[in-house]
C-alpha cells in the first residue's frame, strides 16, 4: 500500500492505495465520494468523468497514484456550499436532462469541460463532444438542450421539450 495525497473539491485528501487502485475506486471507496459512477470496464461510458487539474478525465483510466498532488474536482463539489446548483446542473434540471441519474455526474463534468473551452458550442459541437458519455435514458435530446442552455444560448426554438 502506498500513501497518496491530492486535493479533492478544494480539500486535501490522503489515503492508502495499492498500485493498481484506480482513481475512481479511490474516490468512491476510500473517500466515499460515490457520486462518480462506474458504468463500464472499457472506458467507453463516461459515467466516471472528473476533472484532474482542470481537464476532463475518465477516472477509470487513471491510477490513483497518478493523481498524486493533483487538483481533482468531482460532481460533489459542483454546487454552492448551500446546495445551490451551478448553471449546468440547474440547466439539466430545468430541461429534464436526466432520468435515472446514473450517467448524469459524468455528463455534467464533461459539459463543464466543454463549456470552459468552448463557451458557445453549436448543437453538433455538443453532440460530438459527448461521444465519450453514454446515456441510455434520454435519447440525448434534453442533455444537448440543457448544455446549450447552460451556455446562455436560446433553446426555445428547439423541438418540444
Amino acid at each position: 500500500m502506498t500513501k497518496v495525497t491530492m486535493t479533492v473539491n478544494g480539500k486535501p485528501m490522503t489515503g492508502e492505495v495499492e498500485g493498481r487502485t484506480l482513481l475512481v475506486s479511490f474516490l468512491r471507496e476510500t473517500l466515499g465520494l460515490t457520486g462518480t459512477h462506474v458504468g463500464c470496464d472499457t472506458s467507453q461510458c463516461g459515467a466516471c468523468v472528473v476533472h484532474v487539474d482542470g481537464a476532463a478525465v475518465k477516472a477509470c483510466t487513471m491510477l490513483a497514484l497518478e493523481a498524486e498532488g493533483a487538483e481533482v474536482a468531482t460532481i460533489e463539489g459542483q454546487a454552492e456550499a448551500d446546495g445551490t446548483l451551478n448553471a449546468i446542473q440547474a440547466a439539466f434540471q430545468e430541461h429534464h436532462g436526466l432520468q435515472c441519474g446514473f450517467c448524469t455526474p459524468g455528463m455534467v463534468m464533461s459539459a463543464a469541460a466543454l463549456l470552459k473551452d468552448n463557451p458557445k458550442p453549436t448543437e453538433q459541437e455538443v453532440r460530438h463532444y459527448l461521444e465519450g458519455n453514454l446515456c441510455r435514458c434520454t435519447g440525448y435530446h434534453n442533455i444537448v438542450k440543457a448544455i446549450m442552455a447552460a451556455s446562455g444560448q436560446d433553446v426555445s426554438a428547439i423541438a418540444a421539450e
Binding site: 495499492e18 459512477h37 470496464d41 434540471q93 429534464h96 446514473f102 455526474p105 459527448l130 441510455r136 423541438a159
Partner: protein, 792 residues
C-alpha cells in the same frame, strides 16, 4: 377525478421540475453499489467461457487457500436449493404446457451459455475474490452448441437440456381456431405481400450495471437483499418462495436508486439468490457488483425473433388477413417472464391500428446455448409493430400506393374495438395522430428536402408508421388464464401525518421515470395541497404492502390508480372528520383547494385541521371511525391500456458508403391524459433513442460456437449523442383511457416500439428513390449492410 382541476402551474398537467434531480445532480444519489454493509465480503463469479459443456473437473482447494478467501461455493452447495423460477407458463397449440427446464443458481454438471455461473468465490476484497477465481482448476468437456434457432429445431440437433425432448419450448398458435379461416382468406386474396425479417437481438444496457448485496441478521433470522431491481416485491416473492424458502416476513428486498432498467432489471437473477444465500451461510454481508463485461453475458437479452409475415389484401387494398410465423429465442434457460414476451405480449398486438378481420400467429420458442432472452423495452410489442409496419410498407410499394393512404384506409375508427386477437381497444384516434404527425413532421415539405439532399449527392428517404401497444399490465384474472403465475395489480398506502403532510408507499418503482415528482402531482390535484406536501416512498418491501413493480408502462396506469383509490378513501374519511368538526352531514362536505366546506354555507375547516383532529382526537367521532388517517388500496386493472401513435423518420443515405444519418424524427402519440408533459416527452425521447439504436447500430452477435462477440461497449454499438437528432414530439391527441381513474395510458415504451420501422421504412424509401430494387434490409442498418443492399 374532479373535472374542474386545470392546474397547469402545479398538479396534474404541470411540467413540474423533478425533485429527484437535486440528489442525482449533486452526486448524492443512493444506488445499490453505493451501499456498503459493515463487514461485507465480496463475491466474484467464475463463469463459463464455453457455450455448452460438461464440467468434468472443478477443483477449488488451492484457490480456497488463497489470501482473503472465505469460501468457494459451487453447484454442489446448491443441491436441494430451488432453481430460478419462471413466472409464466405458456400452453401450446396442442394444449400441452411448455417445456420448462431447471435453472440452477450455480451450474449443476453442465454449462449452457457463455457466462453461465459455475462457482462463486467470497473473499475479503473484490480483488482477492477475482484472483482466487482465476486459481480454480476447471475442466469442461466441450459439447456441440446450438446457436441458430432453425438449426436448434432440426432432428438430431444437440440438446441444450438433456432431460427435455427437444430444443422446442413451445409451439404456440393464436388464435388456433381462426387458422383455417385465415388460410382461406389468403387463398381468396387479390394481393399477398410476404416479408421475412429478423428482429435483432439486443442488450438493454442500463448505464448502471447490476449489483446485489445480501445481508443476514443472526439475532432475528432476517435476510435483507439490496438489489438493482425494477420490482423488489417480485424479487422477494420469487426468491423467497421458490429459491431459498424464506417467508416474506423474514426477507426484506430493497431497490434504492436504480440506474435504468428497460426490462433487464425485472427478472430474478442467480446473483441475487446467491448473495442472500451466502450471507446467511457465512454470517457476513456479501456484495456483488457486475462489471459491464459480466452484464453483457448475464443480463437477460432482448428481442431475437426470426419472422415470416404475410398480409392479404382485397382488390380495393383492404387488409383481409394476416399470417405470421416466428421463431423466438429463449436462450439457455427460461428467464422470469420470457415465455410471455413472444406470445401474449406479441400475438395480441398483431392487429395494430388496423381492422384486419382475420389473424393467425404462430410462435415457436427455442432453447439455444445463449444468454436467456426476456423483456426489453416494449417486450413483444416492438416485434409485433416492426413486422406489421414493415409488411404494410412493402405492400404499399408493391401496389404503388401511398403508404400513409394505405394505412389510413385500413385504420380502426370506431371504439371500443374488439380485435381478432383477443383484446379490446377502449379508445384511440388513429386519424388524429396521423394528421398531427403530418403537421409536426412537415411531410408536405419532404419533396423539397429530398431535392436538397440529392443536390448534395445524398439519397433522402421518408418512413412513416403507426403503432399500438398494450400497457398498464395487467388484469390479473385475464393473465392468470394466459399462464401468469402472479397477479398484476398494484398497491399503495397513503399515510397522512398529523400536520397534513403525506407519504405514499407504492409498489411501483422509479428508476428514471420521475415518480417522486409526478405521483405527488396527482394527490396535489385531488386534495388541493402543494405538491411538496407529498413524498413518495418506493423500492422497499418493508414499505408498500405488495408491489408488482415498474415495467410494461404500468406505473401510473396501475400504481397511480392504486394511489388514487387509497387517496379517495383518505378523502372519504377526512370528510367524515370535517363533518363532525363543523357539525354538518357527511354528504354536505366539499373538498376544494385543501379546504373542507359545508355546501351552501361559509363554514370551512382546513386540511390541516382535519388531519390534526385525526391524530389528536379530542373532538372526534370516535364512536363512528377510528383515529388516524392512513389507507391502503390494491388496484387491479379491468383491461390493458392502448397508447397509440404515428411516427415519421427522414434519413439521408450516403450512396458511396451506405452510411445512414437520421435527419428528422417526429412522433405524434396518444397517451390519454398526461400528468407531467415534461416527463412524458423525456420518456418518448429515450424510447426513440433506443429504437434508433436498434435500427441502425445495436446487434448482439454470437459466433457459431456460441462465443459472444459483442461483449463490451467496444463491440456493441450503443447510440451516442451524435447518432441522433433533436426529436419533434407531440402528445396533444388525447383519448383518455376509459377504465382507470386517471384516464392515463402509459408512455414508457412507445418510443422504442414506434421508431424502428420508421427508420427502416425510410432507408428503403431512400434506396428505392434511387431506383435500387431493395425491399428490405435487416437491422441494424450498418453502412456495410446498406452498401451491400445497394450493390444488389
Amino acid at each position: 377525478m374532479p373535472k374542474d382541476i386545470d392546474a397547469k402551474e402545479s398538479g396534474i398537467g404541470a411540467a413540474t421540475k423533478r425533485r429527484e434531480d437535486i440528489r442525482f445532480l449533486s452526486g448524492t444519489g443512493n444506488y445499490t453499489d453505493d451501499i456498503n454493509v459493515n463487514g461485507q465480503a465480496y463475491v466474484h463469479f467464475l463463469r463459463s467461457d464455453v457455450a455448452h459443456g460438461r464440467i468434468s473437473s472443478l477443483e477449488t482447494t488451492a484457490a480456497a487457500a488463497m489470501p482473503g478467501v472465505l469460501r468457494i461455493f459451487t453447484g454442489a452447495d446448491f443441491e436441494g436449493v430451488g432453481g430460478l423460477p419462471c413466472g409464466w407458463q405458456v400452453t401450446d397449440r396442442f394444449g400441452e404446457v411448455m417445456q420448462e427446464p431447471a435453472h440452477p443458481v450455480l451450474a449443476q454438471g453442465k454449462v449452457r451459455h457463455v457466462g453461465d455461473p459455475i462457482a462463486a468465490v467470497v473473499a475479503e476484497t473484490p480483488e482477492q475474490a477475482r484472483d482466487a477465481a482465476e486459481a480454480i482448476e476447471l475442466e469442461i468437456e466441450e459439447l456441440p452448441a446450438v446457436i441458430d434457432m432453425k438449426a436448434a429445431l432440426q432432428d438430431g440437433a444437440p440438446k441444450v437440456h438433456d432431460d427435455l425432448t427437444s430444443n422446442l419450448c413451445y409451439d404456440w398458435g393464436f388464435v388456433e381456431e381462426n387458422k383455417d379461416a385465415v388460410n382461406k382468406a389468403f387463398d381468396a386474396a387479390a394481393h399477398v405481400t410476404t416479408l421475412e425479417l429478423v428482429n435483432n437481438r439486443l442488450i438493454a444496457n442500463p448505464m448502471e450495471p447490476r449489483v446485489a448485496v445480501g445481508d443476514f441478521n443472526r439475532a432475528t433470522g432476517d435476510s435483507t437483499l439490496y438489489t438493482t431491481s425494477q420490482n423488489p416485491h417480485v424479487i422477494r416473492l420469487l426468491m423467497g418462495a421458490f429459491v431459498l424458502g424464506i417467508p416474506e416476513h423474514k426477507l426484506r428486498v430493497v431497490a434504492p436508486d436504480v440506474g435504468g432498467g428497460f426490462g433487464s432489471k425485472i427478472f430474478h437473477y442467480a446473483e441475487e439468490a446467491f448473495c442472500t444465500f451466502a450471507a446467511k451461510a457465512l454470517n457476513r454481508a456479501v456484495k456483488w457488483t457486475s462489471s459491464r463485461s459480466e452484464a453483457f453475458m448475464s443480463d437477460a437479452h432482448g428481442r431475437d425473433h426470426v419472422t415470416k409475415i404475410e398480409l392479404a389484401l382485397d382488390a380495393d387494398n383492404n387488409f383481409t388477413a394476416l399470417r405470421t410465423d416466428t421463431l423466438a429465442n429463449m436462450g439457455a434457460y427460461l428467464s422470469t417472464f420470457a415465455p410471455s414476451v413472444p406470445t401474449w405480449l406479441h400475438g395480441t398486438l398483431m392487429a395494430g391500428n388496423y381492422k384486419t378481420p382475420l389473424i393467425y400467429v404462430n410462435v415457436k420458442a427455442v432453447f439455444t446455448n445463449t444468454v436467456p432472452v426476456d423483456a426489453y423495452r416494449g417486450a413483444g410489442r416492438p416485434e409485433a409493430t416492426y413486422q406489421l409496419e414493415r409488411v404494410i410498407d412493402k405492400a404499399a410499394r408493391e401496389l404503388g400506393v401511398d403508404p400513409i393512404a394505405l394505412r389510413r384506409q385500413n385504420f380502426i375508427t370506431e371504439f371500443p374495438y374488439a380485435t381478432p386477437v383477443a383484446v379490446e381497444y377502449d379508445t384511440g384516434d388513429y386519424v388524429a395522430t396521423m394528421d398531427k404527425l403530418e403537421e409536426i413532421a412537415d411531410l408536405a415539405g419532404f419533396a423539397a428536402r429530398r431535392a436538397e439532399s440529392e443536390k448534395a449527392g445524398k439519397l433522402r428517404g421518408l418512413g412513416v408508421n403507426c403503432y399500438i401497444e398494450a400497457c398498464g399490465i395487467a388484469p390479473s384474472n385475464l393473465v392468470g388464464q394466459l399462464g401468469a403465475r402472479a397477479g398484476l395489480y398494484e398497491s399503495a398506502t397513503v399515510r397522512v401525518n398529523a400536520t397534513g403532510g403525506i407519504v405514499v408507499m407504492t409498489g411501483s418503482h422509479s428508476h428514471g421515470q420521475g415518480h417522486e415528482t409526478s405521483f405527488p402531482q396527482v394527490i396535489s390535484s385531488m386534495i388541493g395541497i402543494p405538491e411538496d406536501m407529498v413524498e413518495i416512498e418506493h423500492g422497499d418491501t418493508n414499505n408498500a404492502p405488495m408491489g408488482m413493480g415498474t415495467y410494461g408502462s404500468r406505473s401510473l396506469a396501475v400504481g397511480g390508480s392504486a394511489m388514487v383509490r387509497a387517496t379517495e378513501k383518505i378523502i372519504a374519511k377526512a370528510k367524515k372528520i370535517a363533518a363532525h368538526l363543523m357539525e354538518a352531514a357527511d354528504a354536505d362536505i366539499e373538498l376544494k383547494d385543501g379546504k373542507f366546506s359545508v355546501a351552501g354555507t361559509d363554514k370551512s375547516v382546513a386540511w390541516g385541521d382535519v388531519t390534526l383532529a385525526a391524530y389528536v382526537p379530542h373532538n372526534y367521532p370516535l364512536e363512528e371511525i377510528e383515529p388516524g388517517l392512513e389507507e391502503t388500496a390494491f388496484y387491479d386493472p379491468a383491461n390493458f391500456t392502448y397508447p397509440s401513435g404515428a411516427y415519421a423518420c427522414e434519413v439521408e443515405v450516403d450512396p458511396d458508403t451506405g452510411k445512414v444519418t437520421i435527419e428528422r424524427f417526429a412522433a405524434a402519440d396518444d397517451f390519454g391524459n398526461i400528468v407531467n408533459p415534461m416527463i412524458v416527452d423525456g420518456q418518448v425521447h429515450g424510447g426513440i433513442g433506443q429504437g434508433i439504436g436498434q435500427a441502425l447500430l445495436e446487434g448482439c452477435v454470437y459466433d457459431e460456437n456460441g462465443q459472444l462477440l459483442s461483449a463490451s461497449f467496444m463491440d456493441y454499438a450503443m447510440p451516442r449523442a451524435d447518432d441522433v437528432p433533436f426529436y419533434q414530439v407531440d402528445h396533444s391527441c388525447q383519448t383518455p383511457c376509459t377504465h382507470n381513474p386517471l384516464g392515463v395510458k402509459g408512455c414508457g415504451e412507445a418510443g422504442a416500439i414506434g421508431s424502428p420501422p420508421a427508420v427502416v421504412n425510410a432507408v428503403v424509401d431512400a434506396l428505392q428513390s434511387a431506383g435500387k430494387p431493395v425491399t428490405h434490409i435487416d437491422m441494424p442498418l450498418s453502412p456495410a449492410r446498406v452498401w451491400a443492399a445497394m450493390q444488389g
